[in-house]
């Protein structure tokens, strides 16, 4: 193909992914979050804007667009401003390697990179930097403490996620996400790797700072955590980053364990979305089921429970793959 066609494809693909994630993950995600929270707590949730309140997040976004954006006097303006671009961008970069479905011409993916899951791990590790920068740049005690807690938590849970990624790469013999889905044609990896699936879900919940691991933005202690000082659209961009990362983690879990886009009768993209939303529902369900961890419990849970378990699981898998099956 000539270079300008490739360029056009890349630009259009990017715009589709960005607006898709902003609408499907962030706007719909916030709405779902509120509706499901309401349902679990026997409330109704938002009702006023649009039929049954479905346009609530649209209204919220428009409201946020009209808000003034304020840089605190004591803040470090450069770091304060760059953090807000880094966090959503790093979260959205994850979507490059996520296969959404399949068509006659091949899998529906932005780009099937050779180092697929490693790329995912690398880009999501950039979010930690954005959060630290936001916490520091605000020069606000709540924000700084929230940012630090968040960073300590996220780095602790990157290790179990990495170990799980390696376990799956070992089974599939590849780092490419498309190959991993293809290898699940007969058997989803959740069947052979239930422990890894549970570790991944727990670690992913913590990695995206969600309840019960949400002490980073424990409202009663730290206001809004590292983005306390951000107003208007900047606040919305952090929210976008958080929801995008949550959906990316759920989509990665679908890709690694639930056979990705595979499923009978319905089109592949629909299957992918069904599985994705099922996992997102689990995330939201968990939020209202477990009480919040303390920071020591949180770090202990990763280092003393998830990591040894993930290591054990990896060695057992390696033993089966490399010794028993040969």
């Amino acid at each position: 193909m000539p270079w300008y066609v490739e360029l056009l494809r890349a630009v259009v693909g990017t715009i589709i992914i960005f607006s898709g994630v902003a609408i499907v993950a962030a706007m719909l995600g916030v709405l779902l979050e509120r509706k499901i929270s309401g349902w679990i707590q026997s409330r109704i949730g938002p009702t006023h804007v649009g039929p049954r309140g479905v346009l609530q997040t649209v209204a919220d976004t428009i409201k946020l667009l009209q808000k003034e954006h304020i840089v605190p006097r004591n803040a470090d303006a450069v770091i304060f401003a760059s953090a807000v671009v880094l966090v959503p961008l790093a979260a959205l970069l994850d979507y490059v390697v996520l296969p959404f479905g399949t068509t006659r011409w091949g899998p529906l993916i932005f780009r099937d990179l050779n180092i697929g899951v490693l790329y995912f791990a690398a880009t999501s590790s950039l979010i930690v930097l954005g959060i630290l920068m936001a916490g520091w740049g605000s020069n606000n005690k709540y924000a700084l403490l929230g940012g630090l807690r968040s960073a300590a938590q996220m780095v602790s849970y990157e290790i179990p996620i990495g170990l799980v990624l390696i376990t799956i790469a070992l089974l599939a013999g590849s780092l490419s996400t498309v190959t991993i889905v293809t290898m699940q044609a007969h058997l989803w990896f959740i069947v052979t790797q239930p422990v890894a699936f549970l570790i991944f879900l727990a670690a992913a919940t913590a990695e995206v700072n969600r309840a019960p691991f949400d002490l980073v933005e424990a409202e009663s202690e730290l206001v809004a955590g590292y983005f306390s000082e951000y107003t208007g659209m900047r606040f919305a961009l952090f929210q976008l980053g958080e929801y995008a990362e949550m959906f990316a983690m759920a989509a990665l879990a679908v890709t690694l364990f639930l056979g990705g886009w595979r499923g009978p009768v319905l089109p592949s993209v629909v299957w992918f979305l069904i599985k994705l939303y099922a996992l997102v529902f689990v995330f939201m369900w968990v939020r209202w089921t477990f009480p919040r961890f303390r920071i020591d419990q949180l770090l202990n849970f990763s280092w003393k429970c998830l990591i040894p378990l993930a290591l054990l699981n990896l060695v057992a898998t390696a033993y089966v793959v490399m010794v028993v099956q040969r």
Partner: protein, 166 residues
């Protein structure tokens, strides 16, 4: 200009300008933050050099790990209070001369030497090739790194912990 050349010059510009901020900024925190684009620029160069695996590792370890450590330590020590402290020592002029001279010699050597081009092609799948090599001829290296890491962990914990207990 080809795409490769454009990419090279853009990445080189990012790396060098961010590197300049790292080396000269009077604000420590800005230096540390500027390290991120510098490292990411170098990551891009690895990609251009067909070393995607090294590129991934560069982001994961350098940007996601070492930079976080550096940011933590700056926050733990001087932090924002270090803003008004002189950051350059008395040898700054000498240091600049030495650094410029070293760079000049290296540039001269690099651009004058007729570098031989090796035969063969890069393996198309670098993680696989690296894995083969690590479990084949480079096995001692592979096991050795884990010992080095263990020693580093023990040493760093000893140093850091001792101070806490006192």
């Amino acid at each position: 200009m080809t795409g490769e050349a454009i990419a090279f010059y853009v990445l080189a510009a990012i790396t060098l300008s961010a590197g300049t901020v790292v080396a000269t900024s009077p604000n420590l925190m800005h230096s540390a933050v500027a390290l991120i684009p510098a490292l990411l620029g170098i990551t891009g160069l690895y990609v251009l050099l067909n070393a995607e695996f090294v590129a991934g590792i560069q982001v994961l370890i350098y940007a996601g790990g070492i930079t976080v450590l550096i940011l933590f330590v700056i926050m733990l020590t001087e932090g924002g209070t270090g803003l008004h402290i002189r950051q350059r020592n008395e040898q700054a002029a000498v240091a600049a001369a030495v650094a410029a001279a070293t760079a000049a010699v290296l540039v001269a050597v690099a651009s004058r030497t007729p570098w031989a081009h090796g035969a063969g092609t890069l393996p198309s799948y670098t993680p696989g090739a690296i894995g083969q090599s690590f479990l084949g001829p480079n096995l001692p290296l592979f096991e050795g790194t884990s010992v080095v890491l263990l020693v580093a962990l023990v040493g760093a914990l000893l140093i850091a912990r001792k101070e806490i207990r006192e």
